[in-house]
Every structure is written in C-alpha cells, then in structure tokens.
Symmetry: C2
Subunit: 332 residues, 2 copies
C-alpha cells in the first residue's frame, strides 16, 4: 500500500477530492484557492482554510506572534487574490501543554493583528492539545459572484502581471534553512519577507472592482507553481518575458553566485498576486492598483500551449511545476 | 511563567479572547458555540471550527473513517444546536507522511459521509504534514438571526430538557480507556455512541423553526459542563429533577457498581441538545421534535440561583463544572 510521502501532496489532494460529492452549482470550482457558496441575489459566501504547522512551516527566528499572524494572513491572502474582502477569521489552535502563557498571548495578538490589518476580525475558534503548535486558520468574506477572480478565465493573448517583485523569500530561505550569509541590512530585509508577509488585499479588491483581471491567484506556492496552477485551471500556458526580480534578491544572488531566476520562480511563501489582463485593460488595471498604492508589473503573456516557459532574449527555457511538497518534503 | 497545563483550557481561551478586538454588533456573543456575522436583511453567516487530534480525541478501536466523520459531525452539531442548517464544511488535514493512501481515502469518505448525512457538502480544505493526524473541521450555515438559539435566553421558571438519554459515552470511555468489560451486545452499543455520534440537526432546526426554545447547546463537553456553560451565559442556574439515564448506561453501572449519575453528568462527547423551554411551549416543542422523529425529555428547570444542582427525592447535590480539560488532561 502506497504511503503518502511516495504520492506527494497533489496526488493526495486529488485522491481526497475524488471521494467527495460536489455541491451542486458551486460559484467557484474545486481546485481554486477558495470555496464559495451561492446565497442568492448574485452573492456568495467565500471561505478559505489553511493550516500552519510549527515544525514544517516556521523557520528559525520567527516569533510566535509572527507565526500566528502569518497563519491568519495566508488565509486572508487567498480571499484578497480572488477580489474578496475578508470580514472574519476563525482560528483552531493546537497547543502543546508546556507552552507558556506569554507565548499564547503573543499568538493571540498576532492572530488579532493579522486580521485587523486587513479589516477583518477574529470571531471564533477552538483550542486543543497537540504535540506541535498548529494554527488552523479560516477566512470568510461575502462577494458578488461575478466579481470573483478565478484561476481560470485567461485567454491566449492576455498579458501576465504581478503586484510586486519576487526572490526575497527564496533568498531568505537560503539564509534560514541553508545558513547562507548576507550583510546585516540585506539579511534583515530578506528574512522580514518570510516573517511578516503582506497580503495584497486592497490590490485584489481594486482589480475585481474594476473588472480588470481575467484570472488571479496569490503566489504562496511560488511563482512557477502558481503559473502551473493557473495553467491547469485555464487550459492555457504562460510565457514569462521579464523576470520580476527584486533588487535585494539580485544582490543576494550575486553575493553567492546563485541563479537569480531560481529565487524568483521557486521561492514560495510570497503573497504577491499573479494575474492576467486583456491588453486593452492594462491601463485600467495599472490605475486601479496605483490608486490603492500598488503597482502592476508586466512579466509576460498567456499562450495557447499548455506549458510555462521563460523567454528572455530569445532563449526559451521550460519552467517545471516545482514547489514545496509537504509529504515528500522536497521540491516535486 | 505559567505553562498552559497549569492554567487549564478555559483560562487559556479567556486569555486569548481578551487579546482579540471584538467585531462590532455580532449577532451571537463570544463564548457561544458558534460565530455569526450579520449580512443584512436579518440574516447571518454562522461558522464553527473545531479540531480533532488523533492522540487525544480518538480512542482505541475507532477507525480512520469514524474519526474523520466525527470531526465533521462535531462541527455540524454546534450549528444544529443553534437551529442553523449546515450547508458546507471545510476540512484542514494534518497527515503524517507514513500514512497509507487507503487510510486517507477512508478519511475522505468519512468526511464526505459526515457532511452528507446532515445535508451539507465538503467544499474545500487543505492538507499538511504533521506528526499526529489532525482533522480541523469548519461548518457553515446561513440563518435568520432571530431564530438562532443562543446559550443565553433562558428565564427562571423555564423548563430544562434534552433530546435524548445520557450515559452511553461515559460507559464507553470506561470500557475504552479503563478496560472495563461488558457483554458483547451491550459493549458494542456503548462504544458505537463514541465511534459514530449523531448530531441533533433536525431536532435543532425544528425547535428553532417553532421558536420553542429559549436557549440551547449541544452536550459535547458533558451534561454537567454544558449546564454550567448555559448558566454562565444566561446568569441563571439549573435544577435537575430527573437524570436522563439510558437503560444501557444503567445496566453498565449496575454491572460495575458505578454511580450512574457520574456517567450521565460527566461522560462527554455526547451530542444531545440541552435546551430550555417556557412551560407554555413544552407541548409545542414536544410536537416539533416528534414531527422529525425526535423526543423531548424533561429533566428539570431553570432557577434564579447561579448554580447547577441535582434534586432527586428531596436530596440536593451540587453539580460542579467538571469536564475534560485538554491541557491538564484531567477533569477540572
């Protein structure tokens, strides 16, 4: 009998979903980032749940406050990426019995702050005894169904864009997991991207409100994997023509002679939006983002071939669906 | 610095809640069994999350199918107890990497069946790697705010009732955790109450629809603790005049010379509704329950003293707020 470490996370999820009866007429299909339930009058309740597990998800140096905040923010991010305003959060906590009360208080403050930063409130939850710290978050928002930005929806010829630059988290994991060094200021800026991720909620809402994007998701599984997920749902492919490389990641890559494109594509735990726009709507999308203090960074286009390629200066490289796999604990 | 095993679960929850900013005008207060968000027109989104942790919540002999089903049912039960129909369930799973795929399939079937039994669907979730199996469930329903049956709301003079008899789970834990024996048929019937709990959803909906109950909650923390929770929220007390003892629990208690009232009051993991009714509404409540195949069992009344007592044949005993505590792992 196969063990799930041999199958990998995505096949496990496939296996589970094949055993579930689908709710009739779901406004958002299975395999998108959120679940939605039609409540009539064109509106849907939108829900997301995602769990933070201390031993696998919390790198060294991350505080209990930061971990609890992140557990909330990562759920809120998925709503934001769909253009849905987060209203409420529930948190189910698993706590080891030897945890001290000051750390529990820190976690409570982190949960609260993670929600309040984006206009939501923690409205409920549950505590349990576990060996490892578990923070299972759930985010809720109410949305107009036609405004929900799904993973599908792009068309060949659409442009591919992001709300920010990549590579900082990838560099931070090189520091935190592999012990690579960096000058103090650079190090601090890089690890902060992992310790205190920001969700692009106002950006997602602005895009949805203007009907400016044809598809969207956050990049928490890494840019490469997110593009493959968008590809899987839309049936289209992507050509990246300009890597959205941050200057800090570039500096770090040069310092250690790393391939900067690896940091951009496979870092993960970034919460930028990756989205597609019709060419005629790019100005509208850019203005919508600018109005909320964000930016639109064009990185490529949607193609009809179902593959993801990097095409820089005429050199075409295939980008594989590589990201972190929880069960195999390797990139797969 | 205090460790949470010294504080106990309720003080930990208090501590967490004191760090949370409360959402303005919540239709259901903190400390009730569900969270509700006002969506206008007298309606609320009702949410509940509760986590099943294998090492603490799954007794010997319980299958993966049963555990996963229970993780869903225990969340659905809280909605049902409030008179809210469960529509959707999300499940965030923590799975050890050496788990075999057939057990994951069993769990997926259990989750699905737990939801479908009560008319809900599993609409989403998440998988993660953990050392112990964790099933963090979340249930959603849409409700008319005025129909939600809260913990508060009872008045002195109201009658106290349940939807069923107690003691089977208490007896089952004596068998499963302490190794006590019972004849095969009795044993099987008792442990089944723990392995395959039933939520009283149609009963809760019937009571809410008829406006028959002044307060209600499920008895998953045990009858004693549930009454203390109802007391805490309402400011009233309770006098139990007739213990709702099941015939199987009575048989088991006689077999082992146990105090049957302990099995009734402190068993826990029962999912009967404990609710209060105005005397003039008892017939209406009984008929509402009968119409859905349920029953109304009168066990006592609401008092103005904030305490819970057992008053049988003139002998009055105080019932302490004793239930299972996750962090101290003892009755507290």
């Amino acid at each position: 009998m196969a063990r799930i470490r041999e199958l990998g996370e995505r096949r496990v999820v496939d296996m589970i979903m094949s055993r579930l009866e689908a709710m009739p007429s779901m406004p958002v299909p299975f395999w998108d980032d959120v679940s939605a339930i039609d409540i009539g009058q064109g509106r849907a309740v939108v829900l997301k749940t995602d769990m933070l597990v201390w031993s696998t998800d919390v790198p060294q140096g991350m505080s209990h406050y930061q971990a609890a905040r992140k557990a909330v923010v990562m759920n809120i991010s998925d709503l934001g990426a769909k253009g849905v305003a987060p209203t409420a959060v529930l948190v189910s906590l698993g706590l080891p019995r030897d945890l001290t009360s000051d750390l529990v208080e820190e976690m409570a403050r982190g949960m609260n702050d993670g929600a309040r930063e984006y206009g939501a409130y923690v409205v409920g939850g549950d505590t349990n005894e576990t060996d490892d710290i578990i923070v299972s978050g759930m985010a809720y928002g109410l949305a107009s169904i036609r405004r929900i930005m799904k993973r599908s929806g792009s068309q060949p010829g659409d442009l591919l864009a992001t709300t920010g630059l990549f590579g900082n988290t990838g560099a931070a994991y090189q520091i935190l997991l592999r012990g690579l060094e960096a000058p103090k200021k650079l190090r601090s800026s890089l690890v902060e991207s992992v310790y205190t991720p920001k969700a692009r909620v106002k950006e997602g809402l602005a895009l949805a409100k203007r009907g400016a994007a044809t598809s969207s998701m956050d990049s928490s599984d890494g840019l490469a994997m997110s593009l493959h997920d968008l590809s899987r749902s839309s049936g289209n492919g992507f050509r990246i023509e300009k890597l959205p490389l941050s200057s800090q990641a570039m500096e770090f890559a040069e310092l250690h002679e790393l391939d900067a494109s690896d940091l951009v594509l496979y870092g993960g735990e970034e919460y930028e939006l990756v989205f597609t726009v019709k060419p005629a709507y790019v100005t509208r999308a850019r203005e919508a983002l600018k109005a909320v203090g964000g930016e639109l960074i064009l990185i490529g286009s949607v193609t009809s071939e179902r593959e993801v390629v990097l095409d820089v200066d005429g050199e075409v490289t295939r980008i594989e669906p590589v990201g972190w796999d929880h069960f195999t604990s390797k990139r797969s």
